[in-house]
Amino acid sequence: MNILVCVKQVADTEARILLTSDKKSIEIENKYNMNFFDEFAVEEAIRTKGKVKDCQISVCTYGSNKATEVLRTAIAMGADKAYLLDNNGYDIEDPIITAKILASFAKTEGFDLIFCGRQAIDDENANIGAMMAEFLNIPHVSAILKFDVVDEKKARVESEIEGGKEIQEVQLPALFTTQKGINEPRVPLITGVMKAMKAQINIIDPATLKDLSKGMIDESASKISVLTYETPSARPTVKIIDGETPEQKVKALIDILKDEAKAL
């Protein structure tokens, strides 16, 4: 069984993020991690490998050379092969292009099972997995919380629905996106870390992939353009209500609500 895991490198939640002066892009401190939900995807692939015969896990990302770090992390955890789909410096903001590239890579290599995180924690789009499955014309289930291979052709998955859970049987090949709670991602062993440090990362120019050309994936192909980024508006300062007794404080509060906030 060939498993593909798609991962994304995202800014660390503690990284400093600054808006450029034109507000059209952001500058991120050099602190990156594997996307939170993608860790579950890698872990599920490794656990599946432990249950089926002749299984190989490939991991891929679409990004810059810097993104090889997340590929190495996946190898340290237990993935076998890593592919960087090099964005050649273009930071395309259009998810459909990313999905096209990943799908084209999956088609070129041929996989029985594809795992993605349910969404990236930076753009929160939550649409790459679904779009990939559509381009590949394979079934997909989002945000799964349990996964089992029934046989070479079928998998059984559980996902949360309002007030309960849904259990589905899905024909393979298929794509699943992973939700928090499906597993506990492992901490790599030092042997995995050493393997990852030496691992060869296969670098692919997406324009060379099946059914793709440069014009289909560069900036000119994007139908979305960022007009501006805005920071959240600052929270108003907290006003402490003065008063020696609770009664005085309540009275002061009512006065403020009436006179200043005009809420009463």
């Binding site: 090889t68 340290a76 901490v187 440090m197 907290v238």
Partner: protein, 382 residues
Amino acid sequence: MDFKLTEEQEFFRKTIIDTIDKIVVPKSQEIDEKDEFPWETWKEFTSLGYLGLRYPEEIGGMNADKIMSMIFYEEIARGSVGFAQSVIMNILMGTYFIYRFGNDAIKERCLLPAMRGEKIATMCFTEDQSGSDLGATRTTAVKDGDGWRINGTKMWITNGPICNFCTVLATTDPSKGLKGLNFFLVEKGTPGFSSGQIIHKLGCRGTVTGELVFDDVWVPDENFLGDELGKGVYYVGDILDEVRLMTGAMALGIAKGAYKEALEFSKKRIAFGQPIGNYQLIREKIADIDTSMNAARLMINYGAWLLENGMDCRVTAAEAKMYATEVCLKVVDELTRIYGANAFAYEYIPQRYFRDARFLLYGGGTHEVLKDFIGRMIIGKI
């Protein structure tokens, strides 16, 4: 001149940060409060294989270079310096002489289980009247048949009360001073070998530190760890630079943890209507912390680079240890000022960093001894 970490080193740095964040950091406050050896955390962490950090891959190690080792020491100390002490004792001092001089049976019995975390190692230098002054060592080893009979008491032994084996420094000829010093392996269960008083420390809690007693302990000749008699002090020299750089890296680890707390607090603490990080006096503190920590890290990395390339780093290692530790003390002090009164409460983290930092003044040589050494090396014989 290239200051950039290699891709491998950078990946290792990131991985060890994540690992410490997941396994050690969540336990750090509990380790400090309980002041008991954290067996569960030990088992979880050592199962990952990091205790073989500096040993060859052929025997299950990682063969990490010295820069990577310093990254490791810094990060594990950032997590919990008490826990770090126990881990680093197994990685470096507690197994160094076993790896270098132990025969195959000893390596099989002691080194390999210590690399897997199944056995706890330590090294015994200090006595009640000798620390940096190794020439004052009073523990003796006297030839007795096909072995050696050891008598003496060692103090301030990290992992001592829970160790499975120790490398003990003893004099085989007190009349020769430093040239009479040698190392011996003593394993738990050997008649006459016992642990004495446990030391209750101000900081670095969670690691068990105490006294080891050698009362007519007999060990076979194979437990003599060396090429020839009287060279023990030279072997100490071989490991001392690495120990000093390691101590400096640990200091940097505590400072890094404290710096993060200070930075976060200065952004979120509101005083007079705005975050205190907007005030110049707080910004000055942050600027000083950042500058001095960067300088300390450069010194440690330079020392590690010298060591990795087989170059003399005696002065650099001593300077780096001393400077990084002084920087650490300054950073934890500034944290307690930025944090205000809560820094004085056990419920908050700053007091732990403040207490932990003090230990590094003594490990790897007091600064009074180091300054004398550095000055002597620079001025030379007059």
